[in-house]
């Protein structure tokens, strides 16, 4: 049971406030923000209480989405609901930011009104909600000539239009209401998050993958879709299929709308996607990656004659060639810095408040090696302070790669949609936490 819901910007501006039960006063918002700002650091605990008021919040896109509730309500439910609410706002407004929430406040009020009644969650299914939501989203993106760049000359198929424009998945799901010409598109994303710890001796100490298949559907009416996974896909340790290198995950769970009649025999998922975004399948794999982790680091930490700390990092990307990645990494250390990087488009800077060197690498082709040398002035450098250097954390995005090797064989809509419909399959692997000890 939820008493109030409000959305605050990171600076504490009231963006949305809705009181469902009239039990707590509207000063709850101020109380909450005071509590947040009174705490050191910018990571307030998820649950805070003030007398009988209990605040549960999630933080996304720089916004605080807060629910006030009673002490005996389920935290799993409240947090899952707030996350779902943010996802709905993102679906309806295109993106989740202070600006888009400000511009679409009427839409969000309408949404809240349908989603929650008297503090009880009614429905969060976008299929149901689309019948009720009338306000149109105001897109926060101004018109830009770049949007036209995908249109070929005289409507001809250009090379560019074969690639899904990256902005495509951030438009509001209902923006095409009324105008029949709206593109009917469907995106199937395989997203994996890597969590790796590599010891100072180069041994992989831990490697976890959390993956999901996410469907984002812009089709006004979509019938059944069949998603074919790798035939040799297997779940658990005992089960092995096929002869080649099996694609294996430890645990796997499906959205309740997924029908699994053909899953056991042909590894086919059958779904009727509703408009908007939904996660069709989630899976985990721990400690048994089919391939070596994508990055290797060869660090050297030394003290030079002038009492400076020399940090020489050699980073190797073990992906197949022709894959490029966006990468940034950080090491913990001290003050002023002089640097030598292997290529001019990289940059490095020292962030004093977090005592970290951030080395940014815009593109990193597979099979290559990069190096960087940092010289750091450390006051009172001793041999013990060498221990303080590290670990190195890498954050990156690997497009077109899955760490588990999961692939989508085909994507079929049945019956075949009239008119042009576009289907996109995208793979991406993110670093959840990729740590290399020095």
């Amino acid at each position: 049971m939820i008493s109030q819901i409000f959305i605050l910007s990171s600076k504490g501006d009231h963006l949305i406030y809705k009181d469902f039960r009239g039990e707590a006063g509207s000063d709850a918002v101020t109380v909450f923000y005071e509590k947040v700002t009174a705490l050191p650091g910018d990571q307030p605990p998820v649950v805070m209480s003030h007398g009988d008021l209990h605040f549960v919040h999630v933080r996304q896109g720089g916004l605080y989405c807060v629910a006030t509730t009673a002490a005996d309500s389920s935290p799993f439910t409240v947090i899952e609901f707030l996350n779902r609410l943010m996802a709905l706002i993102k679906d309806y407004c295109g993106s989740l930011s202070e600006k888009s929430v400000r511009m679409n406040f009427a839409l969000i009020y309408e949404l809240l009104d349908e989603v929650v009644d008297y503090g009880y969650i009614q429905t969060t299914s976008s299929d149901v909600l689309k019948n009720f939501i009338q306000t149109e989203a105001v897109s926060s993106k101004p018109f830009s000539l770049f949007d036209l760049s995908n249109v070929g000359l005289f409507g001809a198929e250009t090379q560019q239009s074969k690639v899904a424009p990256s902005s495509a998945a951030t438009r509001p799901i209902l923006s095409s209401r009324g105008e029949q010409g709206g593109k009917s598109e469907i995106f199937v994303d395989v997203i994996e998050r890597l969590c790796v710890v590599i010891g100072s001796n180069g041994v992989v100490m831990k490697a976890d993958v959390e993956g999901e298949i996410r469907v984002k559907c812009y089709m006004p009416s979509c019938s059944e879709m069949r998603i074919g996974l790798n035939e040799e896909f297997s779940i658990g340790k005992s089960q092995l299929r096929g002869y080649g290198a099996a694609v294996r995950v430890d645990e796997c769970s499906f959205h309740q709308a997924v029908r699994l009649d053909e899953f056991d025999s042909h590894r086919i998922l059958r779904v009727c996607p509703s408009q908007g975004e939904q996660t069709v399948m989630q899976y985990q794999l721990s400690d048994d990656l089919p391939s070596a982790p994508p990055f290797r680091l060869f660090p050297t930490v030394e003290r030079d004659v002038g009492g400076r700390l020399l940090l020489y990092l050699k980073l190797r990307c073990d992906l197949p060639p022709k894959r490029s990645v966006l990468l940034q990494d950080a090491t913990t250390t001290h003050t002023p810095l002089c640097q030598e990087l292997s290529s001019p488009d990289q940059s490095a800077e020292l962030q004093p408040h977090s005592r970290a060197v951030v080395w940014q690498i815009p593109r990193f082709p597979g099979g290559t090696q990069l190096s960087a040398l940092f010289k750091l002035e450390v006051p009172g450098l001793s041999s013990a302070s060498m221990l303080e250097v590290g670990p190195v954390g890498l954050s990156f995005e690997l497009p077109k790669v899955t760490a588990t090797g999961l692939q989508i064989r085909f994507l079929r809509l049945s019956p075949v949609q009239p008119g042009a419909s576009q289907r996109w399959v995208r793979y991406v692997t993110h670093s959840d936490s990729y740590t290399i000890r020095i």
């Binding site: 799993f76 309408e110 299914s125 009338q134 306000t135």
Partner: protein
């Protein structure tokens, strides 16, 4: 648009709203209303526009209607009379052919929260219950709950309650769930909606039709149902079993909660349910949402209380991510401490060692104290890491290490050798008061083994004038006294200066009193002083209590799936970052206070008792104790303690041992009444005394052989002093 003050803005908006040109232009009118609502949500007081907005309500445009309703519902309570004007429009809308308009009108009618409108609302609500469209029925059902809250005094018609019960069979699952919610509120005084066997089975059968939120609600309400036979119970359990593995954490948690309440009499079944949810819980720990991760971690901690081995093989899942927020990291470290075993200890310590140099000082300190806690079982490895950290000469790290080492030595006296070696040179780096207190305590207790101890204390004494923390001064007094006992030649001069300063110039009363007390104590002779100050250096028995046995599930089942476990964590992290667990706060001070009763008249001693000394020998085995306890007659006595001490059993046990009272057993914490069994002997007459302390209100049952009233009184006063000291310290 130029910036307008709120009054100007309201005036401007009013002019626009009443402008006939605007009113006739559909889009301009809607935009003006949008501006009003925007101003409202930004916190501008636009209540003055109420009558204009009431007019705007009569429109066919649904979007405009919705906007106006948002406004009206916020301000209706300020304008009850004007709100009457809206009710006509709303009632008309309830007849609209479009179900969406009907449900909208009905919902907002009840959201106005005006008791004066109740009579107009009842009829449309009754009609709403029988509406063809499910969305109207959903609203109408909850509408009755809202109505009940508005006029709780007058009972809602029994016919309505019956109708709501019959709507549990509604084909729409949301209507069914809403009925449960509404009945739960309306029948609150009678204990909520009645769940009998047919209703329970009906709900269970329809569980699959509901969405995630509905399932959670139904599962929660079913917790009240008690199956009539064992067969029925197992049928329900096997029906619910797949939900335990649900990919949605809310459903999984609600199902487990229901399992635990159904199986409260079957511990084996609840334990196997805990095993089942391991997979989903671990998946939630890796969820993309960090708030969800945190929730799952907190609940795993609950489960571990009953099944310590549950996550043993998965300890790597609790290694901290690089960019995770501090509150998750600290939670994960607490979990890692509980998962340590012989096989993984090296890896876990290696991981924790990496966190000790974290940029966030709270995280670093939490990591250090986690290593300290593992040190209770694997002292050598941990001490090696901790002493290595001292080499970094970082202020916050050294301070945390010293505090951790102090706590470790208290439990594992065998570590003292290594600790004494490491202490040299720390005093320059430790700056905060908590760290210095810990350092002083260590120097006092192990002073004879640290060669530089007198010089360190001298530096402290020389800097006394600029010292602000009374805690540090008191610790310094005790440490210097203790050092004086073992190294008098080096310490005598500085002790004199310290006592002189504290008695003559100190303004803090506590410090002054303590100095005076030590001064008088020295007058009583060196033996007497030794008896008071050189009590105990460690308490190995605490180590045994830390590897606590598995608790029964019922201990925590009630707080599962509530906000409780998430809040607890906040308190715990505070106490660890605050720095001072049991030893220093609770032990040395009771030591000095309590021994007073064995001294001859002293100014602080308020309880005038015959000197009574207690002893622990001969020790009693639990069986012997039980035999004696059952044999003897009990005397009931009340000890007056303002607030029963809310301290951990460990610190109570430690404090009681200082006065030679042995605790033999106690009930797990948080059970009421909380009970502890203790025994002691008096030295001169050799009677055996036993007591069981009941809380709250501290009732003591005493059994004594042979009966000796003075000894009895003495024992009670000592007990009272201990409890007083502990409770005042907590406060």
């Amino acid at each position: 648009m130029p910036y307008l003050g709120s009054e100007d803005m309201v005036r401007e908006l009013r002019r626009a709203l009443s402008n006939p040109n605007v009113q006739s232009d559909h889009l301009r009118y809607r935009n003006t209303i949008l501006k009003v609502v925007r101003a409202m949500s930004q916190g501008v007081d636009v209540s003055g526009l109420f009558s204009e907005m009431v007019k705007a309500c009569a429109t066919v445009d649904v979007v405009q209607k919705k906007l106006v309703y948002v406004f009206l519902c916020s301000y209706a309570s300020l304008n009850p009379e004007l709100s009457l004007l809206v009710i006509n429009t709303l009632r008309k809308d309830c007849q609209d052919p479009n179900p969406m308009v009907r449900s909208l009108a009905l919902r907002n009618m009840t959201n106005l929260r005006l008791p004066s409108l109740v009579e107009y609302v009842e009829q449309p609500l009754t009609a709403g219950l029988r509406d063809r469209a499910a969305c109207v029925r959903r609203v109408a059902v909850l509408g009755w709950a809202k109505l009940h809250k508005l006029q709780a005094s007058s009972d809602i018609d029994a016919a309505v309650v019956n109708e709501l019960y019959s709507l549990l069979r509604d084909p729409d699952p949301v209507v069914m769930v809403n009925c449960l919610r509404a009945l739960e509120e309306i029948l609150k005084e009678e204990g909520g909606v009645a769940i009998n066997k047919p209703i329970a089975h009906h709900l269970l059968n329809r569980l699959k039709e509901c969405d995630v939120w509905g399932q959670c609600e139904v599962l929660k309400i079913l917790e009240r149902y008690r199956p009539q036979s064992e067969d029925e119970l197992f049928d329900i359990l096997s029906l619910l079993d797949p939900s335990l593995l649900s990919p949605h954490p809310p459903v999984m948690a609600a199902t487990l909660s229901l399992f635990l309440s159904l199986c409260s009499g079957l511990p084996a079944a609840s334990l196997s349910a805990l095993e089942r949810v391991r997979g989903p819980l671990l998946a939630a720990c890796g969820s993309a949402s960090r708030e969800m991760r945190f929730t799952a971690l907190c609940h795993i901690q609950l489960l571990l209380r009953s099944l310590p081995g549950l996550m043993g093989a998965h300890y790597k899942r609790f290694f901290c991510g690089y960019a995770e927020p501090a509150y998750i990291k600290q939670r994960k470290m607490q979990l890692l401490v509980e998962l340590v075993n012989d096989e993984n200890v090296a890896l876990v310590l290696d991981e924790l060692k990496g966190y000790c140099t974290d940029v966030n000082t709270d995280t670093a300190q939490a990591a250090i104290s986690a290593i300290g806690r593992i040190g209770r079982s694997y002292s050598d490895r941990c001490l090696e890491i901790l002493t290595g950290l001292l080499g970094l000469k970082q202020e916050h790290i050294t301070s945390a290490v010293v505090q951790t080492v102090r706590d470790l030595v208290w439990v594992c006296p065998q570590c003292s050798e290594a600790v004494c070696l490491a202490l040299e040179g720390c005093e320059e780096t430790v700056q905060d008061s908590q760290g210095r207190q810990a350092l002083l305590w260590l120097l006092g207790v192990y002073g004879e083994r640290v060669s530089s101890a007198p010089y360190v204390l001298e530096v402290f004494i020389d800097g006394l004038r600029s010292e602000v923390s009374p805690g540090v001064k008191m610790e310094l007094l005790t440490a210097t006294m203790r050092l004086f006992l073992c190294r008098p030649a080096e310490t005598q001069d500085m002790l004199g200066r310290l006592l002189h300063y504290c008695i003559e110039e100190e303004t803090d009363m506590c410090v002054r009193d303590q100095a005076l007390f030590y001064y008088r104590l020295l007058h009583c002779g060196i033996e007497e002083t030794r008896k008071v100050l050189q009590g105990r250096r460690s308490d190995p028995s605490l180590g045994v209590l830390i590897g606590r046995p598995a608790e029964p599930v019922n201990q925590w089942a009630r707080s599962f799936n509530t906000l409780e476990p998430l809040k607890q964590s906040a308190a715990e992290t505070e106490s660890t970052s605050g720095g001072s667990p049991e030893p220093v706060t609770s032990v040395p001070r009771p030591n000095t206070d309590l021994s007073l009763s064995s001294l001859s008249p002293s100014p602080v001693d308020k309880v005038h008792t015959v000197p009574l000394s207690l002893s622990l020998s001969p020790a009693l085995s639990p069986e012997e104790f039980e035999r004696l306890w059952l044999q003897r007659q009990g005397l009931h006595e009340h000890v007056h303690c303002p607030a029963p001490p809310r301290c951990s059993p460990q610190s109570l046990q430690a404090a009681l041992q200082l006065v030679n009272v042995q605790t033999l057993a106690f009930t797990p914490p948080q059970t009421l009444p909380w009970r502890v069994y203790l025994y002691t002997h008096t030295r001169n007459t050799h009677p055996v005394m036993e007591g069981a302390v009941d809380e709250p209100g501290v009732k003591v049952t005493l059994k004594q052989q042979p009966r000796d009233d003075t000894a009895l009184k003495g024992f009670l006063s000592i007990l009272a002093t201990v409890l007083h000291t502990l409770s005042s310290e907590r406060a």
